[in-house]
Symmetry: C2
Subunit: 399 residues, 2 copies
């Protein structure tokens, strides 16, 4: 009785669940400390005290009806203004509160953006490899996701294929930076090139083609990598953000959309986002989280912890002969499968109780994703297992 | 550049905004204390201390990664179980945690249900007068809302028209009880009659037709009115609930879906709801609110306050000769417009600084909605204004 689309989504979901259950069964068999689960992108460093403290203060000091009450669908004015000022200070932008719409995380933000801009049959482009959920987000609003082929030599966007894939039906390009699943950071030059292509195609088709930036990993960058702020390069830009990773609060469901002040019809578009937030059933981003953010916009979880993990696992795997994309951000390592069918490699890893996700889930077969948002101790314990895995593949790794 | 559907929604939204601005302008002109705004259904009685206390306790005592972390998309197992047990204890049902999906309020819950069950072109029935947002919720998932005509003699559902409106395309019937905008409570007999009709039509068409109950006002009932719990009368039932009104926390965005344990394919349906919660971008209901609920499921805001308002305004308006539906629940009074075009009556009321909403917004022209979730003092102050309004209409009210 479940709708046809949802029947397919349940099947996809059950594959993830099967993996989860397999890990659980493995833990029961060999002990949880001997299972090396790198399959999930769950934050594991502590929530900053400033955020929890701001929550308690809000509960203890604010008027309860104001704190827990309805507000403008775009959020509390004070929060919107604080986010705008924080962005301006950090990135030299010129937002005011009217350009910010508070949302139920970045997943909520992307759905609100697509609801606002997509007409049935409009196309949304994603740069492979990309987060698989994007396809569902576009489909929710009768949009169609089209893939831009990966450039597996650099894992920067494949600009030649981007030019080919943009058509008069293209309404948006999703840019996820830093990238899940590769950990790559797109450089300023890359973004400038993408912006030029979109400008050219907008002129060619006489239409608006939006950049929709998905940036939950913005603060998780290493080695002084810089993540360009997209509204500075292209006017028809939505930046969607989640505090899930920078504050380790994915369950709190809080994020925002920042609309470029120079977007065509910016004011009407913000009205659309606000109405979409309501109609889709979000109504508003949770109020208490909005209030707590005002006092913790500069708080960060322990990002150095992820960096330490990154350096350990990247060094070890490359020493063992694995071909890895060097990550500059997020908490993922993208590894070339030593055999063509990465599913077989995922299965082989399981023999050593290592759980990885196949690149096919990110439209990039032949690779696997390792999420290193795990404890350093677990990471250290897992190294001998990787040695055994490398031993099994030694002819492929050292031909 | 905003999508065609959203352009229309922005126009609708701007009508509401125009009214809001008109009220603001009026307040500046004659003083806020002399404006009687009955247009909004915003809770105004205090948030129970138990709920705020439970929040602080959770922040102070729980592991921060667990409290703010990802969880099953259906919610924390402890919250789901607590909601199930609370329902069982109050209504003699037999839910367990697996039948409960925690959601971003009732608006989120309804969207998740429709996403799960609707195929493109499926029809959803609503019993006029009804909350206008239902139309958008169905349209979000390519469903089409069809209205069942009101029975303005009793404002109980028009069962004859219900029988006519159910077709082979009908996938669901929304039941809002107590009803926004009338304050009517559908009786057990009414619900039994609706259930019989749906059973008959399910057999006739060999399809599933769901009852989708929308119950944010369940706890706001007066004079010992009883609100039947729908899973007891019909197996293919979803109950959607929000704590917005019972705890005065609409900005917190917390509610749930309860799936009848006897629903056909109940387990797969719950999987569908859980996946829909994720894909639509909710991901999960906010975690802290879920934790706080465990300890405050029996807490209530001051419902007697609304009852006192209800008695005062109903008595006054009927004494003045207005024809009002006697409300047994929610915080609305539905008044027959003394002239055919209720828009003119709404305008006339504004002369005395009374703000009401026309029944056309609820697919029931010729009536107006008065939301009496206001301070008792404001209500008392407004009575002379209603006297003047009645004086203007004295020939119609006392013919």
């Amino acid at each position: 009785m479940v709708s046809k689309q949802m029947q397919q989504e349940i099947i996809k979901g059950s594959a993830i669940r099967a993996m989860f259950l397999e890990g659980k069964e493995m833990a029961e068999r060999v002990g949880a400390e001997n299972v090396y689960d790198f399959s999930l992108g769950n934050p594991m460093t502590p929530v900053p005290k400033a955020y929890n403290q701001a929550m308690i203060e809000a509960i203890e000091t604010e008027d309860s009806l104001e704190l827990h009450g309805y507000m403008d669908n775009a959020g509390f004015p004070g929060t919107r203004q604080a986010v705008a000022e924080n962005l301006n200070q950090r990135f030299g932008t010129d937002f005011d509160g009217s350009h910010i719409v508070m949302t139920v995380g970045a997943a909520g933000a992307l759905n609100v953006v697509f609801k606002t801009i997509l007409n049935p049959g409009d196309e949304v482009l994603a740069l492979a490899p990309y987060f698989g959920e994007y396809r569902g987000y576009a489909a929710n609003h009768q949009g169609i996701l089209r893939e831009v082929e990966p450039d597996t030599s650099t894992f920067q966007p494949n600009l030649e294929d981007l030019k080919v894939k943009i058509t008069e039906k293209t309404k948006a390009l999703i840019i996820n930076n830093p990238v899940n699943p590769t950990g790559i950071v797109y450089s300023e030059e890359t973004i400038q090139n993408i912006a030029s292509i979109l400008e050219m195609k907008q002129k060619e088709y006489g239409s608006a083609i939006y950049m929709v930036s998905d940036e939950p990993y913005r603060e998780l960058v290493y080695d002084d990598s810089k993540v360009p702020f997209l509204t500075k390069y292209y006017r028809n830009t939505f930046v969607t953000y989640s505090f899930s990773k920078s504050l380790s609060i994915p369950g709190d469901r809080i994020g925002y959309i920042a609309v470029s002040p120079r977007m065509e019809e910016a004011e009407q578009t913000v009205s659309g986002l606000s109405v979409a937030n309501r109609i889709l059933g979000f109504v508003n981003a949770p109020g208490l989280m909005q209030k707590a953010l005002i006092k913790s916009l500069d708080a960060r979880t322990d990002i150095a912890y992820y960096d330490r993990n990154r350096r350990l696992i990247y060094k070890k795997l490359t020493e063992l002969g694995f071909n890895c994309v060097k990550p500059q951000g997020a908490f993922y390592l993208f590894i070339k499968s030593p055999e063509e069918d990465e599913k077989k490699f995922v299965e082989a890893a399981k023999k050593y109780h290592i759980l990885l996700v196949g690149g096919s889930s990110f439209s990039c077969p032949g690779y696997v994703r390792l999420a290193y948002c795990v404890s350093y101790e677990m990471l250290e314990r897992s190294l001998p297992a990787f040695e055994k895995l490398a031993e099994e593949y030694k002819e492929k790794l050292h031909p």
